[in-house]
Amino acid sequence: MPVAEPFVSTRNPCKACSPLGACLAFRGIEGAVPFLHGSQGCATYIRRYLISHFREPMDVAASSFSESSTVFGGGDKLRRGLDNVSRQYQPRMIGIATTCLVETIGEDVKMLLNDYHPAAEPAPDLVHVSTPSYRGTHVDGFHAAVRAVVGQLAEAGEPTSSVNLFPGAVSPADLRHLKEIASAFSLDVAILPDYSDTLDGAQLEEYRKIPEGGTPLASIRAMGRAAVSIEFGRTLEGSATGAAELERKFGIARKTLGWPVGVVESDRFFSELSAISGRPVPQIFVRERGRLVDSYVDAHKYVFGKRAIVYGEEDLVVGLAAFLSEIGIQPVLCASGGQSGRLEAAVAAVTASSVGPVLARGNLDFAAVRELALEMKPDFMIGGSKGYSIARELDIPLIRVGFPIHDRIGGQRILHLGYRGAQQLFDAVTNTLLARAQDRSPVGYSYL
């Protein structure tokens, strides 16, 4: 059989576009409004995509390019847009990302911003990030925005003992847990971004123009004086991230860890914090870890040798692969639409203990995942809701984690990180497998 030529088109994408990631990151900064310079439609689509996951208001302003802006430039739209946003929202920061259109016509946004004299008093900080989607995915846009924020706002000065933490595009529940961990170590940790409240907030009597919460600008400025930066994401190694920027500009040590998913990857994170703080791991987490491993033992036979397909953003996939491997599940396929080129190596580094071969592939779409999945006889899939049609066709369960989750509620409350996150993942995986076996059994025991 001749080897079929790969499809040049993307069929059912396993990724979103760069400005979406930037908007998400900007939403995690106190008093900030995300702003897209370019076409209106992109902003609306991005909002809808994010709203469907977080189920929270998500305002993204746009400069609303018209035909003439593509000919004469969008400077006027940009200035008026920024003035209008300032007037309506009174933001402390406006995070400006660009759509493909603006990038394609080669608009010099930096120069436009230099020439812009804000009408608002006090003038908001303007942070600009270039996010052409023809160069990267939403995850790249996310990291680029974080890097732009620290690059443009962090300041030098008297060194402090605080820790910068760049968790990546984790869930609001993850962010809350990280804050809890930091305070248990009595560490002064600045997490960027922090949308744990802005995208998972309480009911209101009066609408708030900008939701409460987010990393305070003062903390961001102080990031230039911190003792160390920790970033999550094994595929970020060597790439231009926020932590890299702080290292370059201020000489702050950069520690790149994997997403702390599962015991082994979490251990690395906890011991890092232990080393930084000079304190032992707090008892509460020691006990959590103890219970987690105890549950692994209790249930190891239910999960052993099962085959999983893992997909989503690269670093979440790496974390899940580590977790599945350590409990005896074989991540037969680790797939991502991400394009870092580092997924394969990162997965290999964390799946040494896997009970069988692991295939990791970046730059995939769901049509390709499906074609591979049909051959692999997986027992379940784990990832966002966009894989559902494949799970349905294969008649296997889908365990929803990560982003986006558009067909269940509570995506923002899924905890992936730390021992506690691993416990929740482990229970979900085990119980899904048990339920499946029980439902399929002709007998239907209620005692397992």
Binding site: S9, P13, Q40, I46, P57, V60, A61, F65, G81
Partner: protein, 454 residues
Amino acid sequence: MHILEERQRQVHRKGSEPFDLDCNKQSAAGSVSQRACVFCGSRVVLYPIADALHLVHGPIGCASYTWDIRGALSSGPQLHRNSFCTDLKELDVIQGGEKKLHKALTQLIVEHQPKAAFVYSTCIVGVIGDDVEAVCRQISAEQGIPVLPVHSEGFKGTKRDGYRAACEALLKLVGTGDPSGVSKASINILGDFNLAGEVWMIRKYYERMGLEVTATITGDGRVDDIRRAHGAALNLVQCSGSMMHLAKVMKDRYGIPFRKVSYFGIEDMSQALYDTAAHFAGVVPGIQERTVELVRGELQYILPEIAEYRKRLAGKKAAIYVGGAFKAFSLVRALRHLGMDTVMVGSQTGLKEDYEELRELCDEGAIIVDDSNPLELSSFLSERQVDLFIGGVKERPIAYKLGIGFCDHNHERKLALAGFEGMLNFAREVYGTVASPVWRLTPRGSAREAAPCR
């Protein structure tokens, strides 16, 4: 509440000022418009054609965000539910995307054997200068199916222009099939997208009346049906914003008359069937009697339950913000049927005459708004103390954050709201949100409960 200077004339309060609403213009820079783009308009209209290939030409986002989100059902092929995109990369942007487009189309057509292909140009295609027309012509010759460019570059207008671009693409299909055998008593259903199977319901009504349906455009749509749609005797146009252009051109070109209809709410639904019956009175014997019978039967079935809801909903206040103004008319009437008052109504793309009609329809004091944004909408909801907000996914969190009931009436919904059965669903849906006990626990709900008069 600060309303942007550019937008002051896009908000009107009935009774307080002379009517002079500004609309149909580009969104103000920096306002968080709820609008989408030209591409969105085209995609919404053409997407339900289930045996066509839909290829988005551009970078990935536009395709990613429109992948299988709509409830537009097909009774057969499911090809439309995929998302295909040329996913242009830096090199394509520099060197042009024509080659990639050609190859992408060829591969996908060979793989999926569609009856036609639509190629949507998104923003950057409009500036990198690809000759999409030429590529489509070439592929069409090579593959022997219609390959239709859709000029939907997002920045070149509003959603409305996208509807028009979609109609232009459809017009290249209409008239290319053989209409022989199409009965004199046949219609095309235009502007229903078969969300949650609505077109099946509507189709059944017409068939029970004794009519034949030639093409449903585009809900549960098929390329071959559209190609012979010019054989039908009447076009029934719902959601007139999106399909009017098609109906008008079909009238000019093929002499097919059209009627505007709406299938939302009891009055509008019944009126649509009665009007159609009257049109065919001389052609189809007994059609009017059958229609009266049909409507009576359906009403008998739904009215008792609706009356129950009405008792509990009477006097409640509603706000509406939808894409097209035409749907808003039906909603105001349908809400009235449930005893509810519409105190705010707006749309993304309404025209002046639409807003005038809405103004007529609503009570004194009602707020009428064009191309609004979350800050305005939230302030209107609070100001008018509404119990229910009707809109789409982007409006939902505004209502929910404020502890206000919500009903989704957009393309993403999975519940049939058209037809008689749909009216019953609508009533259940409205009741289910307004009467939920959860509001009592919210800050706004407890404040209201503590207040003496409500």
